[in-house]
Symmetry: D3
């Protein structure tokens, strides 16, 4: 695990996004499946996973997150998930935002898999990050 | 968590795949980055994450996995990850295979992020599953 | 941890219940708080906690649960939570049912604590258990 | 998870209490049960659980606790548990104190359940909290 | 993680032992340190760690342990810890027994470190294992 | 858990070392076993375990580690592991360094156990620690 001891504790933020393709009929009922409201379950799973990032990604530092926020938007045949994470720390929260998105997407898959097995996850990517020595960075449009 | 108590304990298997796009120069050095061999770190992270699936996906059952195997193939500008999981249980291991792939991909991202921030993860999907009441299923070619 | 190796793997079930007292105005809005739907958050928290029982209670065995189900009923000035757990194992799931109730109640407290700090949790108790050498047991009416 | 990034890092403290009713004969032997000293097991379980609060309660922030202290008092037919938690953080430790009490009570139940299944947990509540924007708060007498 | 799916579920057992050297004055007070009874804390820590073996050792399978038992013996200038683990599974519990011993020894170190920093842990080794294809094995005398 | 709230947040460091004896033929192939490169697996296991110290050792505080570094040296008939940990915190990281070494040693055992069961772990000890009220400390030569 890279030594971040010489870096300053500063305010850090990162936003990641990801998609999962689904049949429109499934998207139409995601908020009232027999197993529950898929958005709500995915929101909590993503939030809890972001807190566990250092337990999942071997070289990640344990960071005391200030904020984790997931947002869901349904499109015609896919759902978009974004995860915003903020922290005061010696290193950034990009992996936390990406982990939140990935586990939220996995959870949407799990909630829907009784209806469709061929859902496809992706693209998943970092949208922006702020703070730290390298400052702000923003992804190009896809 | 859906009641699986009435289902039989049978042999179950699932295979998932996923991709991460990366600059060719990064792919060329993934096995000897300053932080370590990215494939080896991702392999272990994926394996350990597959074992933690029920701790990440709220409605997943805790399953005593018999086997978790990750495989990596580098292509010109992306890396392909597959995860094969097997188990004797009352429910399938699709989510375990997908979780193994997702966390391996996240770990590749983490290992490479000092060199490129605009890597994109996906598509990630289930390739096949065997066992259980619904028997075998195979994904169509993408 | 007591040796259960000599016991038979049989079907086990347990139901626990618990209460949290709250101001009626808070109960009236629990399903649409600014932080989310408190019932849904508590349901998932209780379910995930039941799966972690052996990690919380030192002498509990790790059991592969078949089912965890939480149920919420709002009364005039309190909310009732029940948790039903089922398993095929060498020992019972009483602690899993109680843990599910306790963490669901804690989560309701957490969701409501911006509105009222003097909520009181209890009584929490085992309602019934089935299976194993001692067979079925049912609590007396309180 | 609510954004606490704008709050100041200050010294925070919370105390929670809880009870479990038990047959007097069981209380008399709690410190020398066949499974061990129930107070000692419950003390450690409560302490370790307080450290895991953010892993149990979905919207809780991960906090680096400075202190966790559990205390047990046996009365005629019940045991009283208090848990005191302190921290320097951007948000309070009320949930950590309550979680410590709840898991200590569950552990007492687990230690005693071979002797009595009808033990009842409760009332469990916050006794006091200090620090943060809202300052000190103290519960009314029950 | 090696595929154990083709192996039979049989009764497995393993015993490991380990030592920690300590000043005799510290050993004399281990059961009543200011921080608690070191044996009791180490016993619970070892037990809980044995249950977490698959979360610590990357290639270990998650096994539903039937029994974990720790035993402590104080000698003139060291403490001996043994850990016995039993399970019905497709693979053995050697790593679980060793992990139980290692974490119990670490905990004894933690309990005593305010009094002596130069305590030395070891030797730690497997004493015996039973069950599985390779049957019983016993360590030679050291 | 001892109250460290009154202590200052300062830079802390600790180094621990440990050994595992192995047959020379096994040492010669540790980096290319059928199960993988044992050093790489042990390195990651030790790193991840150091981050989990507070979850393993009951009275340890949760610390946001700045750095965890493992190093392996093979000798004629044993492997030496060192673990260096650094942190800005109110208490030291001795237990984190020792835990990293212990779990790395356990993992080497696990990787090699198909070839030799009589490997012996130890001696394991703290080599040095810096920072905090008591300042620097260094172990005597063994």
């Amino acid at each position: 695990m890279v030594d971040v001891g010489g870096k300053a504790v500063t305010s850090r933020q990162a936003v990641a996004e990801g998609f999962i393709s689904m049949p429109p009929e499934l998207i139409a009922t995601l908020d009232r499946l027999k197993k529950g409201n898929a958005y709500e379950v995915a929101r909590l799973a993503g939030m809890m996973a972001a807190k566990k990032t250092a337990d999942l990604i071997p070289l990640c530092h344990t960071l005391p997150l200030d904020k984790v926020k997931l947002h869901f938007e349904s499109e015609a045949d896919r759902v978009r998930v974004t995860c915003t994470v903020a922290c005061h720390a010696r290193t950034g929260v990009e992996m936390e935002a990406l982990t939140g998105v990935q586990v939220a997407l996995l959870t949407l898959y799990d909630m829907g898999k009784a209806y469709a097995r061929d859902m496809v996850i992706g693209p998943v990517r970092l949208l922006e990050k702020h703070g730290g020595k390298t400052g702000s960075w923003q992804a190009d449009a896809l």
